[in-house]
């Protein structure tokens, strides 16, 4: 049982993992703050979460480590990404301060908080050994979690479900555009609209690009020789054809 190992002291592998991933996690956290692009920020945060997951595993909590990776990195960060993409790809932060002196205050408060946490940890970890890990993981990590979650903390566990209901309702209110059944545009409706009088149901003819020139902006010819406007995509910019494009390709003489 080398989960006891952590109780007895820090193992070599654990120390290695910590000293490699710890700085990486801090760098990633800094990257999250510094990155200009919101999606890049989110990606740095994903890296932080992954490192945290590995830390949990190293701290003899494999279930919580994997849960961290599955729920936080897999689900919650995915939601973050979706939201950021919702806003748009190139939306960067505006650097105009809304609150005056906000940054200074943030830096001061952040440093103060870091000092507080650091001092607390220093005092708590100074020449003290962690105990109780072996007992907690005696029957295996997952079993230990289940034993306390479903007996001692059963109320908290049940209340979580209420939290999930709140989340579902919140998401529905924020993001769901409710439409009445009559307003829904179903597939039969689409087909009816397609075959309604006045609408041409077939695919639009292609441009005349293959016949006369190399540009998709060349309109196709109708059987009577007139140009057909329908053959040109409306999003194409209108422009004059160059000499080379408008001259018919020499196909006869070959």
């Amino acid at each position: 049982m080398s989960t006891v190992l952590a109780a007895a002291g820090v193992g070599a592998g654990e120390a290695w993992t910590f000293w490699i991933l710890g700085p990486l996690a801090i760098l990633a956290a800094l990257g999250m703050v510094v990155a200009r692009n919101a999606v890049h920020s989110a990606l740095w945060l994903v890296l932080v979460m992954l490192c945290l997951g590995v830390f949990y595993v190293v701290q003899a909590g494999p279930f919580i480590g994997l849960a961290q990776i599955i729920v936080y990195t897999g689900a919650i960060m995915m939601l973050f990404l979706f939201v950021l993409m919702l806003v748009g790809r190139d939306a960067s932060d505006s650097l105009i301060e809304v609150l005056r002196g906000q940054r200074l205050a943030a830096v001061a408060l952040g440093l103060g908080f870091a000092g507080l946490v650091g001092a607390a940890f220093f005092r708590a970890l100074d020449s003290r050994d962690a105990i109780g890990l072996a007992q907690a993981n005696a029957e295996g990590n997952v079993q230990g979690i289940a034993a306390s979650l479903f007996t001692r903390y059963v109320f908290a566990f049940e209340v979580t479900s209420a939290l999930l209901i709140a989340a579902a309702i919140g998401a529905m209110i924020l993001a769901h555009v409710e439409r009445h059944k009559d307003q829904k545009f179903t597939q039969p409706d689409l087909m009816r609209a397609r075959f309604a009088p006045g609408n041409y149901p077939g695919p639009k003819p292609g441009p005349g690009v293959y016949a006369t020139s190399t540009s998709v902006a060349t309109p196709g010819l109708l059987p009577d020789g007139r140009l057909s406007d329908r053959t040109i995509s409306p999003i194409l910019p209108k422009r004059e054809l160059t000499e080379a494009e408008s001259t018919p390709k020499a196909t006869e003489g070959r």
């Binding site: 692009n37 999606v39 890049h40 990606l43 994903v46 992954l50 997951g53 494999p62 279930f63 994997l66 849960a67 990776i69 599955i70 990195t73 897999g74 689900a75 995915m78 990404l81 979706f82 993409m85 790809r89 295996g140 990590n141 997952v142 075959f195 309604a196 009088p197 006045g198 149901p201």
Partner: protein
């Protein structure tokens, strides 16, 4: 139990010397890579055979080396970086799904305890108490590669493809995550080797039918068949395979999130798809098909089938069979529409799954808690009555009033696009005609009036022989 000594337990892992770990991960890596070669070959050759084409047959025996040739060709292609792309993310996005798909191979059990260069070790890279969660975490992380690849391309089709794909994968991850709960309930562990050991089976049931203790089938595919079916369906959704290959629906999205990728980056996406397929096949084999254990008829007459290196053969056979099913399904089923697909995941698989878990839990609790016979039947009866009541009182959808053809025709507004008459006779299928022709003796001259028809039948039969 004869094989118990062969079964690796969790205590057997984590003692390998460093060179053995290295050997194992390299072998697992090579396994993944060679299965890709096989998977792509399968994909093209089997689909070709099902479409009555020869398929790959040029490079190597049976065209087996075609994948390798394609890979080399892909490497030598120009690596494009679109002007609108997000350079860094575009660069590393294709690596993400490949990395995590390969990592998931680390917890797949290939066999029992074997001796490698004198060291007794399980034929598995490693196993941990949360091994199945490692696979789930890997498949959850793999989604990043797809959504980021789509986003970083800076183009419309990839963005839509990546989004579709990620929404699809997270939807089916729910179904997949729920379907293995029943496995954990039955096996009592989340370690892959433990789940294989729990399917060793052949045990007699604790319950009885009039004093007869039937032998419980050991494979969870039979024991927990709803979970098995849901898992297989969600595995198809999770790996973006047909009939759920919506992110790369060519007719709508070109190549989906891969549209802007070329050269090795494109190959990496392909690679990750096939590795994910191999991982899913291995996980299905491990969790539902008894893992590396030999199937029943073999164990009946050969006691050594589950020891030594033989289990590797059974495991590979199961994986290849599942890969074949992946390809078979692709060759058979048309692609679903996106709303149908989401409906299947959220409105069918999810509730069925939850109800099945509760049902299984209820049954197991009733077994364990030693309810007296009368109480047990009362509970079962009550549950059945409740289900029937719900089914009876469920608001039925109103049937649409039937309209005749004439009414439909006259309901069309004037000036509508002309339609062919709707009461046209559907011509008989040419296949049916051929069957009829083959049964009839090939006799052209003997018949008088129907000679033309028979001649027709003859040409049909001839065509088939060509």
């Amino acid at each position: 139990m004869r094989f118990l000594t062969q079964d690796p337990t969790l205590a057997d892992f984590g003692h390998d010397p460093w060179w053995l770990i290295l050997l194992k991960i390299v072998v697992a890596f090579i396994f993944g890579m060679s299965m890709i070669l096989l998977g792509v070959w399968f994909e093209r050759r089997v689909v070709a055979r099902m479409a009555v084409r020869p398929g790959l047959n040029q490079v190597g025996p049976f065209g087996l080396l075609q994948t390798l040739a394609d890979g080399i060709k892909g490497i030598l292609k120009e690596d494009l970086l679109p002007r609108t792309a997000d350079k860094v993310v575009f660069f590393f996005a294709p690596t993400v799904p490949a990395i995590f798909a390969l990592t998931a191979l680390s917890v797949i059990p290939f066999g029992p305890m074997v001796s490698i260069f004198g060291v007794q070790t399980p034929l598995q890279v490693t196993d941990v108490p949360v091994a199945v969660l490692v696979v789930l975490a890997c498949s959850a992380m793999g989604i990043y590669g797809i959504v980021l690849g789509g986003w970083a391309s800076g183009s419309t089709y990839p963005l839509l493809g990546g989004l579709r794909s990620s929404a699809q994968m997270i939807s089916y991850e729910v179904a997949m995550g729920l379907s293995i709960v029943a496995v954990f309930m039955t096996a009592g562990t989340m370690s892959t080797s433990g789940i294989v050991a729990a399917q060793a089976g052949g045990s007699e049931a604790s319950w009885s039918i009039f004093g007869w203790h039937p032998t419980v089938p050991s494979w969870y595919a039979i024991l927990l068949i709803p979970s098995f079916l849901i898992f297989v369906v969600s595995a198809f959704g999770e790996t973006n395979r047909a009939p759920f290959d919506l992110p790369e629906a060519e007719t709508e999205l070109v190549a989906g999130y891969m549209t802007e990728y070329s050269s090795i980056k494109f190959l990496l996406y392909l690679l990750s798809e096939y590795v994910a397929m191999v991982v899913m096949s291995s996980i299905i084999a491990t969790m539902f098909l008894g893992g590396w254990r030999a199937p029943w008829p073999i164990t009946a007459f050969w006691s050594g089938a589950n020891s030594g290196w033989w289990p590797l053969l059974w495991f590979l056979a199961k994986v290849v069979l599942l890969l074949f099913i992946f390809v078979w399904v692709r060759a058979t089923l048309p692609r679903l529409r996106y709303d149908q697909f989401m409906k299947l995941g959220w409105k069918v698989l999810l509730p069925v799954n939850l109800i099945w878990i509760l049902l299984l839990g209820g049954l197991r609790v009733m077994q364990d808690e030693q309810f007296s016979g009368r109480n047990r039947w009362l509970i079962i009866g009550g549950a059945v009555v409740a289900v029937l009541l719900v089914a009876l009182l469920w608001p039925a959808r109103k049937a649409e009033p039937k309209t005749t053809l004439e009414e439909q025709m006259s309901a069309r507004p004037s000036g509508s696009f002309p339609l062919p008459p709707l009461d046209l006779q559907v011509p008989p299928s040419p296949r049916a005609k051929r069957v009829v022709a083959e049964r009839r003796p090939a006799n052209v001259t003997a018949s008088g009036a129907g000679s033309g028809q028979v001649a027709d039948a003859d040409t049909d039969a001839d065509e088939k022989e060509v």
